[in-house]
């Protein structure tokens, strides 16, 4: 067991009926980082998080969160972990202040009134203190949920797709706050399927169909994937995309705005494949590091096959 791991789990498994939602998953979340937990919908992210904070009992495996056994010390973990659910789960028919008061009471927060006022101030909720939670916009609901999770001053924050349905400005504000927290030594585990958010993470784990496919510091993801990417810009990209699709040596062709990303695992094969188009008029080619998106699509296709075979596990 590592000394400076906020979470460390080994062989975590969860079955629902005959479907295995999480399959022998091991991972280590270092202290004080933003740990991105990525994967498509139904890949087992929520189930894993719920097992980590004692909301679900694991069918197999063990581990610790903040030094407490996830199978036996759920109570200790719950008292020290802030958890933000995927779906808004505060009371829509209570006011903002009433909701926060309630949460504070559940955690038996000391000096409750002062702490609730403080957190409302910190999250800009003071003006909306008497508004019913159900009447808040998506962004405000999310901010309030984050405030509620932070009320008991947790050392570890588990955020399950926190920015779903939130506008870009609110998302940016949210990530700024998350970044601030890690500065103060709080560990944040955040699940998402937005690539622009994944980039913000210090460390990334990618899971698919309950199995972990990649676990690496964010900076090393591209390198570890072994993927080579060429970027084409200019005119006639749609025709080019058609022409390249299915050519030997090319694994994926993806359109990114005004550019085309062509990726493959074998550097030479890829270059051979695009060679006939290198001198086309109006198209500029440039080699670049593969983005997270290419890596993840690569991982999904590698594991499921291009046409999505072996998808029967997916929810």
């Amino acid at each position: 067991m590592t000394d400076n791991a906020a979470i460390e789990v080994r062989g975590l498994t969860k079955r629902f009926g005959d479907r295995t939602a999480v399959d022998n998953l091991s991972m280590t979340v270092p202290e004080g980082v933003i740990y991105g937990f990525l994967g498509p919908n139904g890949s087992g992210k929520t189930t894993t998080i719920r097992m980590m904070c004692g909301l679900l009992t694991a069918d197999g495996g063990d581990g610790q969160a903040l030094g407490y056994d996830i199978n036996r010390q759920a109570g200790e973990i719950k008292a020290r972990v802030g958890y933000m659910t995927q779906r808004f789960s505060l009371y829509e028919d209570l006011r903002v202040r009433e909701n926060l008061n309630f949460v504070a009471r559940m955690y038996r927060v000391r000096d409750r009134r002062r702490r609730v006022d403080e957190i409302m101030e910190e999250y800009g909720l003071a003006e909306r203190r008497n508004q019913l939670a159900g009447t808040l916009s998506g962004g405000w609901k999310q901010r309030m949920a984050l405030a509620a999770a932070m009320l008991p001053k947790p050392k570890l924050l588990l955020l399950d797709e926190p920015t779903a349905g939130v506008d870009p400005a609110a998302r940016r504000d949210f990530w700024d706050r998350i970044r601030d927290m890690t500065q103060r030594g709080i560990t944040v585990l955040v699940s998402t399927h937005y690539m622009d958010e994944a980039i913000q993470c210090d460390h990334i784990a990618f899971i698919l169909d309950g199995r972990k496919l990649l676990d690496s510091p964010a900076a090393e993801v591209a390198e570890r994937s072994g993927l080579v990417t060429w970027r084409a810009t200019g005119h006639g990209l749609s025709d080019l995309a058609h022409a390249l699709d299915g050519v030997a040596g090319i694994e994926q062709v993806a359109r990114f705005g005004d550019a085309l990303h062509v990726s493959g695992l074998d550097e030479e094969a890829l270059e051979r494949a695009i060679a006939p188009y290198r001198d086309h008029d109006g198209i500029t080619w440039e080699r670049r590091k593969p983005g997270l998106e290419e890596v993840f699509i690569h991982l999904i296709e590698k594991n499921r096959g291009r046409n999505g075979e072996a998808r029967k596990d997916q929810a």
Partner: protein, 377 residues
């Protein structure tokens, strides 16, 4: 630190109370339904109505006829709407329903009466609704008697009928109109408490699951027992409120006598409320949505109305129905309330109705606690 926390329990209670207060529809239902049902069952479903329209056809005008008419006028069973001259006119009124009763005073009635020939008075009643007409028919001899009592006095007082004291006796002892209402109140109290207590708790808990707030609640250090007590307590209060309201209104509107004592009644009510709350909790461990919870509650509610002795007399039900009825808390509760309120049953006397409910409470609570999910599994 991880023991039972009173302040957390109180916080759940407080939260539940605020939500309840803000949910206008539910709150309206809690207050409105008992009153509506009481009025419905108490007034509309009156198996022994009064003030049925009656006419008099007299072929022997005189003091005696006037006395009989006056007696009908003062009777609450009948409303005197006029005199008719011919049998055809009387028939028409009966057929159209303008009158439910025709009292015919035959020719020479007064003379025959004085001569002691025991003349007859003919009463034609619209018996299409036997329940409705039963009361006034039964009361008719006494109405006539009371009318004639004013006439047959002085030198004629010797002619006052003496051989029919039983009519007077019956009239005083039985008040059929009241018996209906007497039986409705205990049954109504039982069914209303069953419905609101079991259904409200079941829905309050499944609502948390359905809206996703249960996940957040379970992710806090709150204990299941704290959630359970905190969520249930407001409804215990509501149960007592409904009971007080219903009994108060019954006394005010239907003048139900309350001959029993407070202790056995409150013991019975408390136990019955707890049984139903436990039942609601059990339902919530089975139902995934509020809709399912409501359907399950109705599954319990309907037999509680039909097989508890409220709608059909218990002794008249087939044996199987009696078995099912005996398994329902409502059956025992209705018996208890009838016994206490109407007959003045003591604590000692209601024990046979207390223990079945106590057993039901134990069994239901045990199953519910076993089924309660501490996690989201």
């Amino acid at each position: 630190m991880f023991g039972f926390s009173f302040s957390r329990t109180r916080a759940v209670f407080g939260k539940e109370f605020i939500q309840l207060r803000r949910d206008r529809l539910t709150f309206g239902m809690i207050i409105g339904i008992p009153l509506m049902q009481l009025l419905l069952f108490g007034y509309a479903i009156n198996s022994d109505p009064r003030h049925l329209p009656a006419v008099v056809q007299t072929r022997d005008p005189g003091e005696v006829s006037r006395a009989i008419t006056a007696a009908i006028e003062t009777s609450t069973f009948l409303d005197f709407i006029g005199e008719v001259q011919s049998p055809t006119e009387a028939d028409r009124l009966l057929r159209t329903g303008e009158a439910n009763f025709v009292v015919v005073v035959p020719e020479d009635f007064e003379a025959k009466l004085i001569r002691g020939e025991r003349p007859q008075i003919l009463i034609e009643a619209d018996a299409t609704d036997p329940v409705a007409s039963g009361g006034p028919i039964g009361a008719m001899p006494q109405i006539v008697e009371s009318g004639l009592a004013h006439v047959l006095k002085g030198p004629l007082s010797q002619l006052q009928p003496r051989q029919t004291p039983w009519e007077i006796v019956i009239h005083r002892r039985y008040n059929p109109a009241n018996i209906t209402a007497y039986n409705v109140v205990p049954g109504l109290l039982g069914t209303i408490l069953t419905m609101t207590m079991a259904m409200m708790t079941a829905m309050a808990i499944t609502r948390e699951v359905e809206r996703g707030t249960m996940e957040a609640l379970l992710s806090t250090p709150v204990k299941p027992i704290e959630v359970m007590i905190g969520k249930i307590l407001p409804y215990v209060g509501i149960g007592f409120l409904q009971t007080a309201m219903l009994l108060g209104a019954s006394k005010l509107l239907f003048h139900i006598p309350f001959v029993g004592s407070f202790l056995p009644l409150s013991a019975g009510v408390s136990l019955f409320i707890l049984v139903n709350l436990a039942l609601g909790f059990l339902i919530s461990t089975v139902a995934r949505t509020q809709m399912q919870a409501m359907q399950l509650a109705f599954f319990v509610f309907l037999p509680s109305i039909l097989l508890s002795g409220f709608v059909f007399p218990f002794a008249g039900m087939p044996e199987v129905a009696q078995w099912i009825g005996s398994a329902l808390p409502t059956t025992h509760f209705i018996r208890l309330v009838r016994e206490v309120i109407l007959k003045g049953g003591s604590m000692q006397e209601v024990i046979p109705n207390i223990w079945p409910m106590a057993i039901q409470l134990g069994v239901i609570t045990l199953i519910a606690m076993n089924r309660y999910r501490r996690t989201l599994d």
